[in-house]
């Protein structure tokens, strides 16, 4: 049979191509263009080659040291909130009811923080933590703690972390809850028969069955926390000093504050690259975890 070659498909793809070009490729290429040049306003540009990238990766330069410091802050922040939110989310999911009207109450309550816009969350905590009019700050100071997130590095970090835990633990909990709900009742019955302790039920049944949703939860929380901007910007504005200045905040400062478009473009490209690499790492880990399961499924 003759194969009919038909090029019409290209026309069908064209709209998508145009949308993606205008929404992603052209802006990205503009950033690449900026990252190679310097500007002093008036739309005058000077060629700088890979100069900004060299400076960015050189810790002794101003740009490089700022980038490195904020990168460490980001990684530290992500590590801390993952270390808190994942175990806490699991505990919350485990203690949620499995049936009855209380399920709906729990689900709605958990979903509430997720529905609040980022900047509103920031504003809530900014006021909540103020020593003069905020409930949290006022109570802490009257209990004898010298709590002030505007002047104390540790307090600022604690506030930002507690805020993120408050905002996002629900997501981990809801994902884990979905994982737990999918475990057939027979597993728990078998564990009872086998005389398993509560801890053994958790390690032998619940944790392995939650593995996949947990991976997704960790991925989502890492990505979101690594890109964090609005909440700390509203609460601390990156301070005191630079102590809570994350990469995204640094980026906005350089691009819009100093109007160093070249530096900012180079920084955002590297930032983007880090996120893509981490995404790829997670994706690889997750698909490998899936491959292990494949033969068992095929055998059925």
């Amino acid at each position: 049979m003759d194969k009919v070659i038909n090029q019409k498909a290209w026309f069908l793809v064209l709209p998508v191509f145009l949308v993606v070009a205008f929404s992603a490729i052209l802006p990205l290429m503009t950033v690449v263009n900026y990252s190679m040049q310097d500007t002093f306003g008036n739309n005058q540009f000077f060629w700088n080659g890979v100069g900004w990238f060299k400076e960015l990766l050189d810790p002794t330069s101003d740009l490089g040291s700022r980038f490195l410091a904020s990168l460490w802050r980001n990684l530290f922040f992500s590590a801390v909130i993952l270390a808190i939110e994942v175990p806490l989310g699991i505990v919350v999911a485990l203690s949620m009811p499995r049936q009855g009207w209380t399920v709906a109450v729990c689900l709605v309550t958990l979903a509430l923080p997720l529905l609040i816009p980022w900047n509103v969350v920031g504003t809530i905590w900014q006021i909540f933590g103020r020593p003069d009019i905020g409930l949290l700050g006022y109570v802490l100071n009257h209990m004898g703690f010298d709590y002030n997130y505007v002047s104390n590095d540790f307090d600022a970090w604690a506030t930002v972390i507690v805020m993120d835990v408050w905002h996002w633990t629900s997501l981990v909990a809801l994902l884990c809850y979905a994982g737990l709900k999918s475990i057939p009742e027979a597993y728990y019955q078998a564990a009872q028969i086998d005389g398993a302790s509560r801890w053994a039920v958790f390690t032998a049944i619940q944790l392995p069955k939650m593995k996949r949703v947990l991976l997704i939860a960790v991925l989502l929380r890492f990505m979101d926390s690594f890109m964090i901007y609005t909440e700390p910007f509203v609460v601390t504005g990156g301070g005191p000093g630079n102590s809570t200045t994350f990469i995204s905040i640094e980026l906005v400062k350089i691009a819009l504050g100093q109007f160093d478009l070249g530096k900012a473009a180079a920084l955002s490209l590297v930032y983007n690259l880090i996120i893509i690499i981490v995404c790829w790492l997670f994706y690889t880990v997750m698909t490998n975890a899936g491959v292990e399961r494949q033969p068992a499924k095929g055998a059925k």
């Binding site: 078998a190 028969i193 086998d194 392995p208």
Partner: protein, 361 residues
């Protein structure tokens, strides 16, 4: 190993106040012998699994008591009761190897390491799992997984009873046969009380020495396979066991005679004292009705079709509005559309409101 007594045991998922007709398990009193091989047989939804879960303690009964060797365990947890149960679908612990899976029930009970290894090796050997002991259980086939579940049920030597809840549902027919024979052999070797739930009569009759038939939340009969076949205590047992099932026909019974469709057939016993107002039926297995050439004195039937089952042929016939299955004697060529039915009087039973009536001699 223990003797298990059920005393007025009943269960309702709708709570104790629900009308008794809606109970998943209607009150039952019975005894399970130590070391017996029992099958709990009945169609889906008849309460078999409920009864099993009551014995294992997964479900707490609404009413009545459960005794293990005269000790009341009704309110005891599953762990305390020391019972093993194997479920319909394989339950394996994904992260563990086959060996660790088998050792799990023993480890939870803090048995000595050497003892565990010995027991696991023994059970793995009985179930042909030895080559897989160090493999991850997660990657095995459904058959192997169910063998692991069976193994976990059998690995404890001191259990009061091992309960099986349709454990071979997910297994290929050929392996099913093997595994069932294996279970039967294990029952002899390990001398355990076993209760096997199934809706498959072949499975029940080949596995058990006592078959307990359930219907609509009630235990309708408990006996050896031969007893169930020869003398069904309930019309349900009659047509549920046997293939084709028992012929159950409305009839008027008086003394030693039953009238079906205006024709009289002889009975072996005297049924003078039948309960008044009850629905009277006559039951006879197809094996004990033969077709013959139409003749005076025989019940005349219209032949609809002949089922050839290989070693035996059954004629599907109709008497008036009533369908009948009857054996076709070897070498008998079926005469046209009509035939006479020859009953074996000693095999004809009388049922009042579906329950067997014992006649007097």
């Amino acid at each position: 190993m223990a003797r298990i007594d059920l005393v007025d045991l009943a269960h309702s998922y709708g709570g104790n106040d629900a009308p008794e007709e809606s109970f998943a398990l209607k009150p039952v009193t019975m005894t399970w012998r130590r070391g017996g091989a029992y099958a709990l047989l009945g169609p889906s939804g008849c309460g078999k699994t409920t009864l099993l879960n009551l014995i294992s303690g997964i479900v707490t009964p609404s009413r009545g008591k459960i005794l293990f060797d005269d000790i009341d365990v009704t309110t005891q947890t599953t762990q305390k009761r020391n019972i093993a149960q194997v479920f319909q679908f394989p339950v394996i612990y994904d992260t563990m190897t086959v060996g660790q899976n088998l050792a799990f029930p023993l480890k939870n009970r803090r048995m000595a390491r050497a003892e565990i290894d010995k027991r696991v090796a023994e059970i793995a050997n009985l179930l042909d799992l030895t080559p897989y002991l160090s493999r991850k259980a997660q990657r095995l086939t459904a058959d192997a997984k169910q063998k692991i579940s069976l193994g976990r049920g059998l690995v404890r030597s001191d259990v009061a009873a091992v309960l099986f809840d349709e454990p071979l549902t997910v297994i290929d027919p050929e392996l099913k046969w093997q595994l069932r024979s294996k279970l039967k052999a294990l029952h002899r070797d390990l001398d355990l009380t076993m209760i096997y739930v199934t809706h498959d009569q072949t499975e029940a009759l080949t596995f058990a020495d006592t078959v307990v038939v359930m219907h609509d939340g009630r235990v309708v009969q408990s006996g050896t396979p031969a007893e169930l076949f020869d003398k069904p205590a309930h019309t349900f047992v009659g047509y549920f066991i046997g293939s084709p099932g028992m012929n159950i026909v409305p009839a008027q019974v008086k003394g030693r005679e039953a009238r079906i469709d205006g024709h009289t057939i002889a009975l072996n016993r005297n049924y003078d004292r039948l309960p008044a107002g009850a629905k009277i039926e006559v039951g006879v297995r197809p094996e004990f009705v033969e077709i013959a050439s139409p003749a005076a004195g025989l019940l005349t039937a219209n032949i609809e079709r002949i089922d050839d089952l290989g070693r035996v042929r059954f004629a599907r016939v109709r008497v008036g509005d009533v369908k009948f299955a009857a054996k076709v004697p070897n070498g008998f060529s079926v005469p046209g559309h009509q035939a006479g039915l020859v009953f074996d009087p000693s095999r004809v039973h009388v049922y009042a409101d579906s329950v067997l009536v014992e006649g007097t001699a």
